[in-house]
């Protein structure tokens, strides 16, 4: 298949791909090289990979326990030092260790919200766009209603009803974050639904469910993924906000927002207790924003530069 005189690069960038696989890999290669050229996007990718590694190896990296109290007589509210890199909190716990373990909670929240909200949005959007008529009208009306809601306040009310806790916070955020995905998936579906290849599949007798699942959804996935990545920062900030208000993860869990809330009492004298988790939230959100921008530019060159 591949001529020896050709390099891999030539094969990937070939104008006339010989097989479907070559065409797909070629497209992926083009997107990847656009992405690699974008230094900010690479920085974002680096931050997210670092977050993943920290979360996986938290037990190895963290020098102390994240939840057991330290010696309250000697280890309380210590300033940053060689021994405690970011100091200790009011329970004598090492803040660096808590931050490292908190990365797992952050990752848990964003992954779970994405896993719940993105498929729901995709399903509603594709069904709505493909079916049209009154199904479309009803589903889009519901989507619009949810879009017009204030997300944070609604999440607050949901958590108030469900009771505080990290899982309930995730559910509340997921319930308020699917509408944009439905909108995007519907818009994509509308441009596809009368395409020749869809008509061809329909003539071959494919059911609507099969057309949506096998032929439309795969083409909507990339734009939804871009949007989800761009939303990740917002999800992290909302989760941290709920934690800050005492409605997310409960103590002694090292959730970053809750850590800021407990550091708030000492902010005037021991500022590092509240400062460190905020910086962590900022860096991770920034990473997702940079990565999302980069993905959009790489996968959707039309929108680049806007």
């Amino acid at each position: 298949m591949k001529n020896d005189a050709q390099t891999w690069r030539e094969w990937l960038t070939s104008e006339r791909p010989a097989s479907r696989r070559q065409a797909r890999l070629g497209r992926a290669y083009a997107a990847w090289s656009r992405f690699v050229d974008n230094r900010l996007a690479m920085a974002g990718l680096f931050i997210i990979l670092a977050l993943l590694l920290v979360a996986i190896f938290a037990d190895v990296i963290a020098p102390y326990s994240a939840v057991t109290d330290g010696d309250l007589r000697t280890a309380r509210l210590l300033p940053p030092s060689a021994e405690h890199w970011f100091g200790t909190d009011d329970q004598g716990r090492d803040i660096f260790a808590r931050l490292v373990h908190g990365s797992r909670i952050t990752l848990f929240v964003v992954v779970l919200v994405a896993v719940i909200a993105a498929p729901v949005g995709l399903l509603i959007g594709t069904v709505s766009g493909y079916a049209g008529g009154w199904i479309d009208a009803v589903l889009m009306r519901i989507t619009d209603i949810f879009l017009a809601f204030p997300r944070l306040v609604l999440a607050l009310a949901f958590v108030a009803a469900l009771g505080p806790g990290i899982v309930n916070a995730v559910i509340a955020i997921a319930i308020t974050s699917w509408p944009p995905y439905a909108r995007i998936a519907r818009a994509e579906t509308l441009t596809l639904r009368h395409a020749d290849y869809i008509n061809a599949v329909r003539l071959m007798g494919a059911s609507p469910a099969r057309i949506i699942a096998r032929h439309i959804t795969p083409l909507c996935v990339s734009s939804v993924i871009i949007r989800v990545t761009l939303d990740m920062a917002g999800i992290i900030l909302t989760a941290a906000g709920l934690g800050f208000l005492g409605l997310g993860a409960q103590p002694p869990s090292p959730e970053w927002g809750a850590m800021i809330a407990s550091g708030r009492r000492f902010v005037l004298d021991q500022w590092w207790v509240a400062a460190a988790p905020g910086v962590a939230i900022f860096i991770v959100s920034l990473g997702f924003n940079l990565l999302g921008d980069g993905l959009r530019d790489a996968l959707d060159p039309k929108a680049a530069g806007q």
Partner: protein
């Protein structure tokens, strides 16, 4: 009557009809959205594990007292009846009594809302006044240093937790530098020198000539308002830049240049004027977001507004107050959303019914 004028009259009637239809459709959307909001809050109120009856009488009350209160609150009726009653009450502004303050929730909200309004309005003003010119300049000098700065402002605005930034701002500007007043809205010393008229303290103190109190109020207000203003600016400048880039690529800009108009006139008089149409909707949305975002800011700054009221009620499982607050924030949010939609149609002749 000449046939020409008759046709014109018919056309005018048709246009009126189309406009009337558009208005009716708009009102239906408003009603449906509001109904959705009420349905969701009702659902939230019903699935809450904390029994509202127990919240009032306490869990040691004898059974007959619990039953009596349950009947008084109408919680023994079928769900759909409860929902209809709920809608009727919500439409007349009756959200029940707050368990925490034992006032009607609506009275509480009316008391705290001006504080939030004052904060969000000043925040939006700051964001607009700084954000629009920044966005325009960034678009005009695309790729320049200024453009990079606008990009960084946007990235930081989208990535930093607002409550944390508020905390750090308090630490630096209040505790360390002493440039501004601390948490709260007004010092206790001045609290009783002004009689509340509008509830917006900047206006109240200015009207009554209490300039010392005015300065104090301003000192309290400026930090949280700047903070909200920053987030508003991050959003507005980014959108302005994007809209201006679109406008500057249009043919009429080329035509204006060919005609020999000055660059300043082209940018500020022609391109910006067209970019203003979508920008108005962006500013309205940003205002709505600030009203909502004040929940976290008000907690950090102990600002006695709607956001703090909602979170305080949350901690005490005071569901009437939480849901009342949610409905009010939701209504304002929906209202601004739809208003921006309407403004867009009024301002952009292309979207008008023909």
């Amino acid at each position: 009557m000449a046939p020409g004028t008759a046709r014109a009259g018919g056309r005018r009637r048709a246009r009126l009809q189309a406009t009337a239809m558009a208005i009716v459709r708009f009102l239906v959307v408003v009603a449906l959205t509001y109904l959705g909001l009420l349905a969701v809050t009702f659902f939230i109120g019903r699935v809450i594990p904390v029994d509202p009856v127990l919240a009032i009488v306490g869990d040691r009350a004898p059974t007959h007292v619990v039953e009596r209160v349950r009947e008084e609150l109408g919680l023994n009726l079928p769900l759909y009846q409860q929902f209809l009653i709920y809608i009727g009450k919500a439409l007349s502004g009756d959200f029940g009594t707050s368990v925490l303050t034992s006032n009607p929730v609506m009275a509480d909200i009316r008391r705290v809302f001006p504080a939030t309004l004052e904060l969000a309005t000043l925040g939006t003003l700051i964001g607009t006044v700084l954000g629009v010119p920044l966005g325009v300049l960034a678009a005009v000098r695309r790729g320049s240093f200024l453009d990079q700065i606008v990009r960084v402002i946007g990235l930081v605005g989208y990535s930093v937790p607002i409550f944390w930034l508020g905390l750090m701002a308090l630490l630096v500007f209040y505790a360390r530098l002493g440039w501004v007043e601390g948490p709260g809205r007004i010092d206790v010393v001045y609290e009783y020198t002004v009689t509340p008229v509008t509830g917006i303290l900047l206006i109240d103190t200015a009207m009554q000539g209490e300039w010392e109190a005015f300065r104090n109020v301003f000192g309290h207000l400026i930090l949280p308002a700047s903070l909200l203003g920053y987030f508003s600016m991050a959003y507005i400048s980014r959108m302005t830049r994007s809209f201006m880039l679109t406008e500057l690529g249009q043919e009429y800009v080329v035509a204006a240049r060919a005609k020999g108009l000055s660059e300043g006139k082209i940018i500020w008089r022609h391109a910006l004027r067209n970019a203003l149409v979508p920008l108005v909707t962006v500013i309205a949305l940003s205002y709505a977001t600030l009203l909502e975002g004040s929940v976290l800011t008000e907690t950090v700054f102990s600002w006695p507004g709607l956001g703090l009221y909602i979170t305080d009620s949350l901690q005490n499982a005071d569901m009437n107050a939480v849901l009342g607050g949610t409905i009010v924030v939701g209504s304002v949010f929906i209202g601004l959303n739809l208003l921006s939609d309407l403004l867009y149609r009024v301002l952009d002749p292309r979207t008008r019914a023909r």
